[in-house]
Symmetry: C2
Subunit: 294 residues, 2 copies
């Protein structure tokens, strides 16, 4: 059964929220989209681009009309949005989000929407990008992308199934896991490398010969540091939200670097070659699979 | 004045050596190219592809005919190649190389070609790639790329000028610096990130939930780890050759990660946001300049 949405409220009309609205509309699954945000200029652009049908700077004003609410703001703003939603939300209206960390967002649902948890479906669409704002919204963003659902114990299976169906209508593939498992996996394959890249650029910039170094940085440097171009506030939120998992990742990685330094000190060519060969093999197999997923 | 080369000997007919031969030939600066290597199949491919005119598995055999020798093998093989060259090399024949580290290569020249140093011009063409073998050779590889010359104290200015002219004929831009400065700069912007990427993939692969992690790794992971697909033997050579500079880089980076972990532990949002913002700003300015260089 295809579940139709009469009114969708999207809080944060950027890449994630705007693309969801566009894809759902193209799939014929939503009648009316209300865009909510802090920046009037971005909302007006979203309206002009046809990403949303109506705009508001106050989610409390429009909460009562929503069949589905997508919180697509930075995680740091989600608590306030939920609090503003709570009084007006209709019984049975579904609330979901696009936050990159899930244990902290689960705690926010519990704090701000304690009587509505059966209809709350925490989610993480895996579609990051350096772009932001309404102009970043695009129809096909979620095609063949993954969306991870991390339902609460209280979430009704029907609520999760509806959210899954809407994301599938956008072309996405659905995975479910616990918030804790989600946060551990993403600490490892996303959050840690972002921190490593930020820290690396910081160290090069601090060098006496930084200008000279940057002058000779080439394509390897470019790709390795691309994620250091990511949004600072968003990554401060993510780092602190997933602090425990990240500290464990950092400790493990630092221990790895210590062993690597030891191999260099000892001139251990065999050890270095083994580490590099194995890493290359693993990365190459991963890349083959990644390409196959499209 | 355009210096013509009658006979060029290229030891190691892969991306670096093969592309040099092709570009020089297209520029009309070389009459005959002899390809030298260990693997007959690769040499025969180079011959079939027209990258070289003649092949040999023993550089000693052809040393006496060379006006210019380019050592484009892994650095680990260069000492043996120089030793084999030494007896037959004509007075005044220029010897250069494409090694990624320069202090160690300078030491090899001194050890194996002590009577020929006036004609030895250590060099590093900045044109890395994951590809290798004769099939990787391409005409335009060096267009707008940089070549760093690190002449020895004994190198005649005329020798360095000739090598510079040939690289310029391939489309490259020439920079000169000391071997020590070269190695410090490349430890920072190339060698360290390679080690960090290898070490990162190694740590993810060691996790209990590695399969799950790789399954959710996406484009950020892909770009951050691309250089972990680089050649293990080559990177073992480079790591050990530039060990001192790399150990200093690793120590500095590990101290940076320790401070970052401290910020996370303290929940220092201001500190994290400042670090991320500054790194993003630096990286963004670097990338603008990099794009302008073409």
């Amino acid at each position: 059964m295809q579940q139709q949405i009469d009114t969708l409220v999207v809080a944060g009309v950027g890449l994630i929220g705007g693309s969801f609205a566009l894809a759902l509309r193209r799939a014929g699954r939503v009648r009316r989209v209300i865009g909510v945000g802090r920046t009037l200029a971005n909302l007006e652009r979203a309206l002009a681009l046809g990403v949303v049908d109506e705009i508001s700077q106050d989610i409390a004003e429009v909460a009562g009309r929503a069949d589905l609410v997508l919180l697509a703001s930075p995680v740091g703003q989600m608590g306030a949005l939920m609090a503003a939603l709570a009084p007006g939300l209709r019984a049975g209206a579904i609330v979901t989000d696009g936050g990159s960390t899930k244990s902290d967002v689960a705690a926010l649902y519990r704090e701000h929407l304690p009587n509505h948890l059966a209809y709350c479906v925490p989610a993480h669409p895996i579609a990051g990008s350096d772009m932001s704002g309404a102009v970043a919204a695009q129809y096909g963003l979620y095609e063949n992308r993954r969306v991870v659902l991390t339902p609460l114990d209280e979430t009704l299976p029907e609520s999760a199934a509806m959210v899954a169906g809407w994301w599938q209508a956008c072309g996405a593939e659905i995975h479910s896991m616990s918030a804790a498992e989600h946060d551990a996996v993403f600490a490892s394959v996303s959050h840690l490398p972002h921190l490593l890249a930020f820290a690396y650029v910081d160290r090069v910039a601090a060098k006496d010969n930084a200008e000279r170094c940057f002058d000779f940085a080439a394509t390897g440097f470019r790709d390795f540091t691309r994620i250091a171009g990511s949004h600072p506030e968003m990554w401060t939120d993510i780092s602190l939200a997933n602090r425990e998992a990240l500290l464990a990742e950092l400790a493990d990685y630092r221990a790895g670097l210590e062993r690597l330094s030891g191999m260099l000190e000892r001139g251990d060519a065999t050890g270095l070659n083994r580490l590099f060969s194995e890493a290359r093999g693993v990365r190459s197999r991963w890349h083959q699979q990644f390409l196959r997923k499209g």
